[in-house]
């Protein structure tokens, strides 16, 4: 049973008070937040009020929900009604959304208690949380190192015990990579499984909200709480989300695990060794290991760095100083746009807006954006062929363990390579998750990534649960 699952059960039965649970987590935040900087905003008072309300429901014999009293942290690109939502950008200065994201509504309905909004790379663009306008988040396992990104704050909050679970968003690996670097479980669900309504868009066709948790069971519970059709998101899948209950205890007897023989090289030896150990552990548990080829995997990174910036250049055009957020006044409207956007966006965001604008420009569209869409199709086709022979595939979640601050900031491309193994799932719209599987260099955690076909979450969690059992 997962820790959050157990905690919620005790709050529902009245055995423990949500107020006491929340107080414990707020104390942990008090003790170490200054060092870790996981949050852009801690919502201590709101959390206390919410916990008291949940206790009142439990005391009166009502059911406060499957996540009753579970402290949760939200990536600060999820809209929260009346509460600043910054995307770790100066451009959203002073903006308070007039509505809650669908996932925030669903968490509230399930009885969760929001303790704060977590730090991220500005607009979720980055792999280290060093691109935040409010300063970096530090890895709680080694504060000289990054927590990964872009959902670094959400990963660090769970790893540091600031929240029992958290939500992040994953456009090219932004949940799975920081989960791996912080030693927690992180899931990117099937595209369309979780509503994007209220998620501030980076690249709409790739973005997906997902959970961070200390264990696989908690990740499953959190995912089940937020998944399911939302008429407010036209790309939301109409069918019911499959139950993950049975997956957690099913084992992997007869499950076919794909090993990608033409996987792009580049992972560190310690990471490679843990991946090898994962294959061995699953084979020992009765799984069948099969070699598969995914030739287009290697082109994922290039295609991604055309498609994601192209969509971002359009999604981020609305930050023009006219209706909300930062405005830097100037002589005329065009000068105001320039002044506002130059002052409001950091370097990485500006770099991607320019890349994306170029990729969509007249005369370049076919060569760049159009070709990237073809690669995207190839990846989906290659995945479909591979999944004729296997049920899931394993890769590293990150090429390396957590790296020191500043080690990749001078070379954007070196930073982009962090997402080599995670990007193809976003391009295909498939689910994938990172599960901690032992340690690598400097005793830092290594995450193994489980990839599955669309709506293959049940088998993905089946394998993840087995890896979790075999890791300890």
């Amino acid at each position: 049973m997962g820790r959050a699952v157990e905690l919620a059960a005790r709050v529902r039965s009245g055995e423990v008070r949500a107020a006491d649970v929340v107080e414990g987590y707020l104390s942990a935040i008090d003790a170490r937040e200054a060092e870790v900087h996981a949050f852009n905003l801690v919502l201590a008072e709101a959390a206390r009020e919410r916990a008291a309300a949940i206790d009142a429901v439990a005391a009166s014999g009502g059911d406060p929900g499957p996540l009753a009293g579970v402290p949760v942290a939200l990536k600060d690109n999820l809209c929260t009604r009346g509460v600043p939502t910054t995307c770790s950008s100066k451009i959203l200065d002073g903006w308070r959304p007039p509505y809650d994201a669908t996932v925030v509504e669903r968490l509230a309905a399930a009885g969760a208690v929001v303790v704060g909004k977590t730090n991220l790379d500005e607009f979720a663009m980055g792999s280290s949380t060093e691109n935040s306008a409010f300063g970096p988040t530090r890895n709680p396992l080694d504060v000289s190192r990054v927590p990964g990104g872009s959902s670094g704050g959400s990963a660090a909050a769970v790893a540091a015990g600031f929240a029992e679970v958290s939500l992040g968003s994953d456009t090219g690996g932004s949940i799975r990579q920081p989960a791996a670097l912080c030693g927690v479980v992180g899931v990117k669900p099937t595209y369309g499984a979780v509503s994007r309504h209220g998620l501030v868009a980076f690249a709409s066709s790739l973005d997906q909200i997902g959970p961070f948790a200390n264990d696989v069971a908690d990740a499953a519970l959190l995912l089940e709480s937020i998944a399911g059709h939302d008429p407010g998101d036209s790309t939301s899948i109409p069918e019911a989300f499959p139950s993950l209950d049975a997956s957690l205890t099913a084992g992997v007897e007869g499950v076919r695990i794909g090993r990608i023989s033409d996987l792009p090289a580049g992972a560190d030896a310690d990471v490679e060794a843990r991946l090898e150990a994962a294959f061995e552990a699953l084979a020992a548990a009765g799984a069948e290991i099969v070699d598969v080829e995914v030739p287009a995997f290697t082109y994922g990174l290039t295609a991604y760095y055309l498609i994601a910036p192209a969509e971002a250049s359009s999604n981020l055009a609305r930050y023009d100083g006219v209706r909300f957020g930062l405005r830097v006044d100037a002589a005329d409207t065009n000068a105001m746009y320039t002044a506002t956007r130059s002052a409001g966006f950091g370097d990485e965001v500006q770099r991607r807006i320019m890349l994306g604008t170029y990729a969509l420009s007249a005369g370049y569209y076919d060569a760049y954006y159009g070709k990237a869409l073809k690669v995207r199709r190839l990846i989906a086709d290659d995945f479909a062929r591979a999944y004729e022979r296997c049920d899931v595939m394993l890769t590293p979640a990150s090429p390396s363990v957590a790296f020191p601050f500043g080690s990749k900031t001078a070379d954007p491309f070196a930073m982009y390579l962090c997402d080599t193994y995670t990007i193809p799932s976003n391009l295909a719209g498939h689910p994938a998750m990172s599960v901690p599987f032992g340690s690598g260099a400097d005793d830092l955690p290594v995450g193994v990534q489980v990839l599955a076909p669309a709506l293959g979450e049940p088998v993905m969690f089946q394998v993840a649960a087995e890896l979790e059992r075999r890791a300890s």
Partner: protein
């Protein structure tokens, strides 16, 4: 209806934007309503707030399909696309439109005179907000102190109807817009009020010598009446021919029609045209109307104006492009005329009576069809003069109905016989000898004085038409 200027002909294609008559916006639940307090019909989607997502309005799609069907288009699976450009009244800095895969393609519109104008496409898109520039001259942004933005219109559903370059004269351009307006109103797709901006026209105009390939075109914006469309197209055609005639070239540009000076002016040239960077809208899924859905929409379509004109013309013995026929059909009162005929009324008189006296009445006038039928019967039978009939008609319309026979009796109306009229004409000529001489010399206006005299003497009971006939006969 041909236009030529110094041996050149004009080639015109029209792009017409119509706001759809939906209750709510294209991608959100805010009301689609004209004339409300600024910035009251707004929501996160309308304002393009971070995290807001569009959800397609089913009714808007149905109305767009109606337009496609009315224009004989093929309805196809389509994709929404983002058209990216910065402007303060464009909240997301992109417009959700359709680009290379529009909903309706390959249709046509037949003008009342039978000319067929091709329709390339009719696609769905959202409207922008509205900017008002204050503190400067003429409401233009240049030189203004501040701009005020009303987002009520932002996100209102539009269909852009793009014609083929098949139009060859200002008259055809006007007829195309007028006919399109009638169709849109008839099928309930739009109220198509050009004065309120719910129907807006841009014209692409070029000129060439007949048989040559197309010349360089200019796009004219801001055409907000049928009359402006004709005037602007005519002016622009002449301007281009005049340029070519003195050895200059026509530059491809966007021009603004100025209603007050009757000219077009450069708005922007091709060099500073935006690169819209269209790409498929990732927040929406492709739209593929099923055959069942298309059939359902087709079955719900009312008859088109052209069919209704033909039917009314047939019933009343008029030509299909007669003014009375098109006026009555435009008002939607053709069913009423048919009802008067069914009630035993005289068809031709019923048509004229409705055209003349029912302008302020709704499509289904309050006057019972039977009442109008009786009045037309009395006129045919000579029980009242046409002048008396007019008086009775006015009273019946004002009262929302009435028994024409009882009213006529109460007023003492009865038609004068011819011998009585003849003697009144004798008296009138004797009283107005100068007028008679002038009338005989061919001055038609002089007849008015004589007729007026007779009307006065008969206290309005003389039949004006009969009097005119007697006068014409006497003049020889």
């Amino acid at each position: 209806m041909t236009w030529t200027h110094e041996g050149f002909e004009m080639v015109v294609g029209l792009e017409v934007h119509v706001e759809l008559a939906t209750n709510t916006k294209l991608f959100s639940a805010s009301p689609n309503r004209f004339g409300d307090e600024p910035n009251t019909n707004i929501d996160p989607v309308t304002l393009g707030l971070p995290g807001a997502l569009p959800v397609l309005n089913r009714r808007a799609v149905e109305l767009a399909m109606r337009i496609g069907l009315a224009l004989g288009c093929e309805i196809r699976p389509c994709v929404f696309a983002r058209k990216n450009y910065f402007y303060p009244d464009m909240p997301k800095a992109y417009q959700i439109s359709q680009y290379d895969q529009p909903l309706n393609v390959d249709g046509s519109l037949t003008l009342p005179d039978g000319t067929v104008i091709g329709v390339e496409r009719a696609h769905l898109e959202e409207d922008t907000g509205k900017s008002t520039h204050v503190g400067g001259a003429g409401g233009r942004i240049h030189g203004s102190e501040a701009s005020l933005i009303d987002f009520n219109r932002a996100g209102v559903p539009l269909v852009e109807i793009v014609s083929q370059p098949d139009i060859r004269s200002p008259e055809q351009a006007r007829a195309y817009v007028a006919e399109l307006r009638s169709i849109l109103a008839a099928i309930g797709a739009s109220d198509a009020k050009m004065e309120e901006g719910s129907m807006r026209v841009d014209a692409n105009v070029s000129v060439r010598r007949p048989g040559e390939s197309f010349g360089t075109r200019c796009e004219i914006k801001n055409l907000n009446s049928v009359r402006s469309v004709g005037r602007a197209v005519d002016y622009e055609g002449r301007r281009q021919v005049d340029l070519i005639s003195v050895g200059e070239v026509v530059r491809q540009e966007t021009r603004h029609w100025d209603e007050t000076d009757g000219r077009t002016h450069t708005l922007r040239t091709k060099e500073d045209a935006d690169d819209y960077r269209y790409f498929p809208e990732p927040d929406l899924v492709p739209l593929a109307p099923s055959d069942e859905w298309i059939a359902e929409v087709r079955a719900s379509m009312p008859p088109l104006p052209s069919a209704r004109r033909a039917c009314l013309a047939e019933a009343t013995g008029q030509a299909p492009d007669a003014e009375a026929v098109s006026t009555v059909v435009d008002r939607g009162q053709d069913d009423y005329v048919h009802a008067v005929v069914a009630a035993g009324g005289d068809a031709a008189r019923a048509l004229i009576a409705v055209k003349e006296a029912f302008a302020d009445e709704p499509a289904s006038p309050r006057v019972p069809a039977e009442d109008l039928a009786v009045l037309t019967q009395m006129e045919v039978a000579g029980e009242v003069t046409s002048t008396q009939a007019k008086t009775l008609l006015a009273e019946i319309v004002a009262a929302g109905g009435g028994d024409a026979r009882a009213l006529a009796a109460a007023k003492g109306f009865e038609a004068m016989d011819t011998s009585e009229l003849e003697s009144m004409v004798d008296d009138a000529i004797a009283a107005q000898p100068d007028a008679w001489v002038k009338f005989c010399a061919g001055e038609a206006k002089a007849m008015g004085a004589i007729v007026g005299h007779i009307m006065k003497a008969s206290k309005g009971q003389a039949d004006g038409k009969a009097v005119s006939a007697i006068l014409d006969a006497r003049r020889g």
